[in-house]
Amino acid sequence: MRIGSIIASVVVTALITTTVQASSGDLNIYGFMSVGVGILDKNEVTIEGFEGEGNFKQDTLLALQVSKQVNDNTTATGQLVSRGTDDFNTEAAWAFVTYQTSSDLTARMGRLRIPFFYYSEFLEVGYAYNWIRLPSDVYNIPFSSFDGVDLTQRFSFGSLDNSIQINYGRLNDELSIFEEEYQSDLKNMAGISLTSTYGDWGFRIAGQRTEMTLDTTVDEAYVKAVQVATIAQMTHDANPTLESGSALLAAAGSLEEAQIEFSQKRRIDQGQTGAILLAQQMNLDLEVEKEFSFDGHTADFYNAAIMFDNGNYSFIGEVTATEYESGLLVDNRAWLVSLAKRFGDTTTHLTYSTSRDVLNSGDSGKLQEALKLQGEDKSVTLGLRYDYDVNTALKLESQYHDEIMNRGVEGSYAMLYSFAIDVIF
């Protein structure tokens, strides 16, 4: 009996050991890391998140990816990213299960990256591109992951290899817009992209739509105070009495208080409040509460890109268009072109990128202009990438960034010098 139980436990142990060994054999742990520093030659502007002094956090991040083959068709993958810009808090950028059918169809479910533009699905993998960071004129969408599903179908015509990817899901998360936090619910996030490669050439077109709800609010107290003060002013101007004078004084006092409160609100809350007041003042024919808010308003993102890489020369041209139904964010057109030439282990590259906000037509656009929402930027980046070994790249970059227009007024320009080490493991 005793021998029996010993044998049983040995067998059980052996079985467990085998299982553990088998699964650890299928478990892959890998990752990427970037360490960078940047210095801006001016103190009064912020560009790419950099201000005047040396900043070591902006371009620094660490990501670990774990994948486990569950069976022949199924793999579970997770990617945890810890960013310097987020005080090295760790976030799951990816967490999904892949199911691969035999017919070149792949289904994924879980937390995925939104395939907005060409680099969107590996936007933080510095090692994967020549730049230290993606050109922010084009890559500036304040969210990058969603929870849902995507399907990828691959097919070829001769040597032209294609893949169509469709995705559907939702993102319920805190978003950082203009460096302030907003609780968001991005529903019905749906998109489609087609990527083709032919020899050294690659092409991509894509579209993505979501319905944005943000926790932005109108500062009712401020709206009220402005209205009361305006009426008090008009009353006093029409027939100045002692009463009307003291009423005006009181109204001005509360307006001043309300103004202090208002100035502490987030930028989009201020915009939403300002929209209501300005629409009244400017006498605009507009459903301002409905149009200048975020309550399921659609946002559309379009992209086309062309790539070339023959090993010695590479090129990418990419155009994007963003259309917001809400007047509080301005429609945008952006594009970039980048050329690179390789000399052995060293690659030099030159990039021009530009972004331009496009005001709505009619009264809606007049209100956007009065709210000083629009911006325009252009950048020229010259850089060097040195592949130290097959897993390590050293990068040096100088970027001239011109904020042609920032928040509706003429902006400033600056040079950003940066250095980074990108590693994969």
Partner: protein
């Protein structure tokens, strides 16, 4: 004079290795059970399979690439002759696929003997060996 002698000796010593590495003829191989023919699998298709752009042989069966480990002289020859890319460029190419969950790295084996064994036993696999190591356990589909 002595220095020149030393130089000549070292050149002579290293020259054969160098020449050998340059001249290594790469033979792309599949299992004997693989029904695809020499003519159907061209260099372009080999490259597309090894870059995860295609996952099927011309007859519709699944194709999985097998690599020799990094640093192997034949892997370098294969990368250069078939993929026209350096190891660093491939590493960058794969980082895009791996970190966006699109594909994982091809399976790797340590040496040519392991490569032959793995490919011989699985008709889905496609690998490469030195043309000098070709024997009747595997089938050559492309040589360069």
């Amino acid at each position: 004079m002595k220095l020149i002698m030393k130089l000549m000796v070292s050149i002579l010593l290293f020259a054969p290795v160098f020449i050998c590495a340059v001249q290594a003829e790469v033979a792309v191989i599949v299992s004997l059970d693989n029904k695809n023919t020499y003519t159907s699998i061209n260099k372009d298709l080999v490259a597309r399979v090894f870059l995860a752009k295609v996952s099927k042989f011309p007859d519709g069966t699944i194709a999985k690439p097998v690599n020799l480990k990094q640093g192997h002289y034949l892997r370098e020859a294969f990368n250069r002759d078939f993929l026209s890319k350096t190891e660093s460029q491939l590493s960058r190419y794969w980082s895009r696929l791996r970190f966006s969950g699109k594909a994982s790295l091809p399976k790797e084996v340590g040496n040519i003997a392991e490569m032959k064994l793995a490919v011989a036993n699985d008709p889905a696999l496609i690998g490469y060996i030195d043309a000098m190591d070709v024997d009747d356990t595997i089938k050559v589909v492309h040589k360069y």
